[in-house]
Symmetry: C2
Subunit: 111 residues, 2 copies
């Protein structure tokens, strides 16, 4: 399970792909395969969390890395560059944004 | 702590606000206050997770609800509508997208 905890201090990448609905499943499968093959053993990789929008027009990866430096090093790999070109070709647009998780608010447990 | 687990079956809302960097902190504070006052006790609310982009041009809420019906009911509340207008006034644009979490990939623990 992925845990969101501001005190972990992770680098968070949210990458939102816009996609034709008929290609959404193929894009998600491509991101899944690339995660397993390229990122899972990369130094500093923590998690990737793949989301499909209910209208199938967006596929979004919520990814955690130990640091931005670890992420930068992973994406310099030529195999990763090839994967990113393939993902971009399946999508209409993509928009990676680099974040820090600042606050988490949780529902209070029922009494 | 927030947990991302596909088997939970939550409705996931990722709302990306574009903002002038000088207003980013005020927007995050507004979202934080509204979460505490309006959502924390709403039926079906699970979590809100507030992110600031490293360039301060985006503030993003990754929110979990038990179901889309619970979220729809919460946003019909007139106080929630007023909050959303205030948040929209602080931001340049906002883009709420409705998702399901499909897959989570975790780094394997070091041997």
């Amino acid at each position: 399970m992925t845990v969101l905890d501001p005190s972990a201090g992770y680098f968070t990448l949210i990458n939102t792909f816009t996609v034709e609905p008929k290609r959404a499943q193929a894009l998600l499968a491509h991101l899944s395969k690339a995660t397993e093959e390229l990122f899972l053993h990369a130094p500093g990789f923590v998690s990737a969390n793949l989301h499909m929008s209910r209208d199938r027009r967006h596929v979004t990866n919520y990814a955690q890395w130990r640091s931005q430096e670890d992420y930068d090093a992973a994406v310099k790999n030529p195999e990763t560059q090839a994967h990113m070109r393939d993902a971009a070709a399946l999508a209409s647009t993509f928009n990676p944004i680099f974040y820090d998780l600042i606050e988490t608010h949780l529902a209070e447990p029922a009494a």
